[in-house]
Symmetry: C2
DNA sequence: CACAATTAAATCGTGCGCGATATAAAGGAG
DNA sequence: CTCCTTTATATCGCGCACGATTTAATTGTG
């Protein structure tokens, strides 16, 4: 497949895809920082660490906050809809929503027409939290240190990567 | 601080920082996908999901793989050095390294000169795993669907965000 | 030399995130 | 109408990730 040279990490043969990729990577030693996976991994955690003290004042964790964002955007969604939107499994969402329910920010109810489905609605406290949370993005925006245009452009690129990864997963499990 | 309007999420006053930021965000409703925090969050998890079956063949989890990458790059690092490089707390690294040690990929030893410090070295199996892991980046590269130049540029932007977030954290705890 | 301050790693408890599996409900085929 | 297939969510077990705290070792001060 490929030779090990001075313990460097070399890129193996590409199975399928973009032209000239193999040539470009052959013999080239990537720095750790250049790994996109590591950048996403470490920056996601850094974002979490910045949000945590800010959200602590609201009584929310970071993933809980993201779920609340989705519900403030559109109340009364099904667990499945939330899962699709947030790219999370029900095994992650159900316990998280139960904790939010315990905090009295949401209510979970079986759909009357289809009892397999669970609908998630905001309580009055959940709505009220929205107002309290209004200043959060401004604080984080300051921490990010980019213009809004730059942020939106960067998000678009990152979203594209996610979509490619999701497509690839579906392709390879055919 | 800021008015709530039709349950939309509006951006609060920026405490410090970039010019004209407040004007740009006032009155503008962000879509969920435009949140950089969500893009990083969901794409990091998507990256994890793509790596997981590939790494399963090596007997590694995604975070374990990232640690091995760091050690293949530079063997014999201290736990503290690894922590700095990977932006992880010792409370995360120590259990993870213990699992790698149990898998016989690394060995942990107290430094002889300073017994507070623990040095992590690769075993022969850990070295051998490096060869087996050589094809991993190529497979993932295909899944990402970007040119290497694009990937490196995107990683640099994401790394810049992480650095800004880290600086901001230090500033606000003064 | 003794003790306080600092440093490095480890432990604990909690909150995720996912794959595998289970449970229950709805829809379709015979 | 019955039974099989599909769908939606829930449970379980494991591996993180971190803040708070503890333990042990080193360094610095008086």
């Amino acid at each position: 497949m490929l030779a090990i040279k001075s313990r460097a990490i070399y890129i193996g043969r590409v199975r399928r895809g973009l032209p000239d990729m193999e040539k470009w990577f052959e013999g080239r030693e990537l720095n750790f920082e250049e790994f996109l996976c590591f950048s996403l991994y470490s920056t996601n955690h850094a974002m979490n660490r910045v949000y945590t003290p800010v959200l602590k004042e609201l009584g929310l964790t970071y993933p809980q906050y993201l779920v609340m964002l989705a519900l403030w955007k559109k109340d009364g969604q099904l667990v499945g809809e939330l899962g699709q939107k947030m790219h999370l499994e029900s095994s992650t969402l159900t316990p998280l929503l139960k904790r939010l329910e315990k905090l009295n920010f949401v209510r979970r109810q079986r759909d009357a027409e289809d009892e397999r489905k669970v609908r998630v609605t905001l309580t009055s406290e959940g709505h009220a939290l929205h107002e309290q949370a209004a200043c959060v993005p401004g604080q984080i925006l300051e921490a990010i240190g980019m213009t809004p245009e730059e942020i939106i452009a960067l998000s678009a690129q990152i979203n594209k990567v996610r979509k490619n990864l999701e497509s690839w997963s579906l392709d390879t499990t055919e």
